[in-house]
């Protein structure tokens, strides 16, 4: 397993290298001069030129890349043009929000998506199944930001139950009760993804339930719920786990929108804001880290896959 993980990590290297070039290129193709934006309205062309030089933005692109990548390897993602602090620190500041948001969202996805999917599959063809599958599909069809706007309107402005926006750190005053700030955003984010998991659990369970070994399990006289969970769902989990990598990617994408709607100080909003501010080092850093994270998650998914399915051997 360790050897396999190591090997997989090695195969990530070329992908990562290619991704880093791509990230770098994308960012430098963006129109907009960071120096001009930093200096604001009243800057003279001379001042802009001076700052451009100071930031090293006047060198050939490949030199900038080599320099950047060398620094990345030593753990230095550069300094934010906007905050004038190390990029890593800017990202770390946003990481708390994004990680907690992702965890809470995953929590909803799992506690909503999996049981509803199991129920839906167990009552296949009945009204229960039709209602749950119908709603799952409906929720997968709602634009995230639209849902978020209405959740704020109903639960924050209308009922006053939950905070509308922002997220004070859990290390600040309020401690873990600050998690209530993440309830609406995480539900918004979970809705389409839980819907996806419901449908996936349902369809893989239906596939598995047609398999012979389920009949064997039933012939042992086991309770249908036990058959559904231990034999059908457990095997369906293999396909579901494989989809979690995809869910993770969807989560990151939709977090960009959700964090914007709820003004959360997370990495998703950081990307949008940094694009608007032309804060190249931050955009590069965030995207690079997300790409690495995504590959890492995919590795975890593969490991989980092997762990869930004894037929898959890691070699």
């Amino acid at each position: 397993m360790i050897a396999y993980t190591f090997k997989r990590l090695l195969t990530l290297v070329p992908t990562l290298l290619a991704a880093s070039v791509l990230v770098f290129l994308f960012i430098h193709l963006i129109p907009g001069d960071p120096a001009a934006i930093l200096l604001g309205d009243t800057a003279t062309p001379e001042e802009i030129l001076a700052l451009t030089r100071e930031l090293g933005l006047d060198r050939p692109l490949w030199q900038q890349y080599v320099l950047w990548f060398k620094n990345v390897l030593s753990g230095d993602l550069g300094r934010s043009l906007f905050f004038d602090t190390p990029v890593l620190q800017v990202i770390a500041d946003g990481a708390e929000t994004s990680i907690l948001l992702a965890l809470l969202t995953m929590f909803w996805i799992v506690i909503l998506g999996i049981p509803i999917g199991i129920v839906s599959a167990s009552y296949k063809g009945t009204w229960i199944d039709q209602v749950t599958s119908g709603f799952a599909m409906l929720f997968a069809s709602i634009p995230t930001f639209w849902l978020g706007l209405y959740l704020i309107l109903i639960f924050s402005v209308g009922l006053g139950w939950l905070p509308s926006s922002g997220f004070p750190s859990v290390s600040d005053e309020g401690g873990w009760t600050n998690m209530r700030y993440l309830i609406l955003p995480s539900l918004t984010l979970a809705a389409p993804n839980a819907a996806l998991i419901i449908r996936l659990v349902r369809s893989s369970m239906l596939d598995v339930s047609r398999e012979d070994h389920v009949r064997t399990a039933r012939s042992k006289g086991l309770h249908p719920a036990r058959v559904a969970i231990k034999h059908v769902f457990r095997n369906a989990l293999i396909a579901v786990a494989a989809a979690f990598g995809f869910t993770f990617a969807a989560l990151i994408s939709e977090a960009v929108v959700t964090e914007t709607v709820f003004s959360l100080p997370g990495i998703g909003r950081l990307v949008v804001q940094s694009i608007l501010r032309r804060d190249y080092p931050v955009i590069q850093g965030v995207i690079l880290i997300i790409v690495v994270l995504y590959m890492f998650v995919n590795l975890l998914v593969d490991l989980a896959y092997a762990w869930l399915d004894p037929r898959v051997s890691l070699s």
Binding site: P14, T15, A18, A19, L22, F26, I27, L29, I30, P31, G134, M137, L138, A140, S141, I142, P143, T144, F145, W146, L149, Y150, L153, V157, A195, L196, R199, F246, A249, A250, I252, S253, E254, V256, V257, T260, V271, V272, I275, I283, I287, I290, V291, Y294, M295
Partner: protein, 283 residues
């Protein structure tokens, strides 16, 4: 024609999916005949009539420019079609070709699929965001960007299908009877892939609507003057309480259309050749 019967068979006995298909038909008609249906010019500004409530003559009310929301919604249907069909075409042309060629010529395939892997490591919206910032806001670029994002998944899926098909007996038979690469790919293999491609296309169409709306919301999608449902939501979102109709109508239109497309895609997928069932992600 074969595809039409395929769709007809898929919809048999599925009331909700049939209702969805009818709704989509309405959207298509509205989109094509927009100038005939829309009572007003969707761009005509009328400061006096701004933020009028739904009623006559403004069926869906007006926005803060005093533009008729109903007319904009009708033209929005046209834009939804353009975005959907455009993205599907880009995704299928780029992704489909890459996927098919990679699956057919395995040597080349490994290289191409590695490149697809690299692109897939970028989460969809993030990739779209960065690409949109590099390019400028325009209908064409939006289509291109969304198309490229889904081209990666399409390439993957078609690659998988090709690997399965390539070893089927009838392909061997055709190969033995002297069919060339081109003829094998397009005369023998492609027809077998048409229905799964159609299913994939419905899902891309549906996702493209959501992606386009998200890009519009972030201010990085279609040019703001283009009447699209996403822009209508993005531009008027501060009026959520002041003029609720401005968010409800376009929002419901997006949801219904994506929902219908997903239902249709689901029905088609259930009808599809079991060989490919696992390959298509969908919702």
């Amino acid at each position: 024609m074969k595809l039409l019967t395929f769709v007809k068979e898929a919809l048999e006995g599925r009331k909700l999916a049939t209702a969805g298909a009818i709704w989509l038909l309405i959207i298509v008609v509205a989109g094509i005949a927009a100038p005939l249906i829309a009572p007003f010019d969707p761009l005509e500004i009328d400061p006096i009539a701004r933020l009028s409530e739904p009623g006559t003559p403004y069926l869906f009310g007006t926005d803060h420019f005093g533009r008729d929301t109903f007319s904009r919604a009708v033209y929005g249907a046209r834009m939804a079609l353009i975005i959907g069909i455009g993205s599907v075409m880009v995704a299928l042309l780029c992704g489909g070709l890459v996927g098919m060629l990679s699956g057919y010529f395995t040597g080349l395939g490994h290289v191409l699929m590695r490149m697809v892997d690299v692109l897939m490591a970028f989460p969809a919206l993030l990739l779209a965001l960065v690409l949109m910032t590099v390019l400028e806001r325009s209908v064409f670029n939006t289509i291109l960007v969304i198309g490229i994002v889904y081209a990666t998944t399409t390439a993957r899926i078609l690659f998988g299908m090709m690997l399965k098909l390539k070893n089927e007996v009838f392909i061997d038979a055709a190969r033995c009877s002297g069919a060339g690469h081109l003829s094998l790919l397009f005369r023998h293999i492609l027809p077998n892939l048409l229905s799964p491609i159609l299913v994939q296309a419905t899902f891309i169409f549906a996702f493209a609507q959501l992606q386009a709306a998200a890009l519009d919301f972030l201010g990085l999608g279609l040019p703001p003057e283009v009447p699209s449902w996403g822009n209508m939501l993005a531009e008027e979102r501060i009026y959520i309480t002041r003029a609720p109709w401005l968010l409800i109508f376009p929002g419901v239109l997006i949801i219904l259309s994506v929902f219908s497309m997903n239902l249709l895609g689901d029905a088609l997928r259930d009808r599809i050749d079991p060989r490919f069932k696992d390959d298509i992600a969908g919702v």
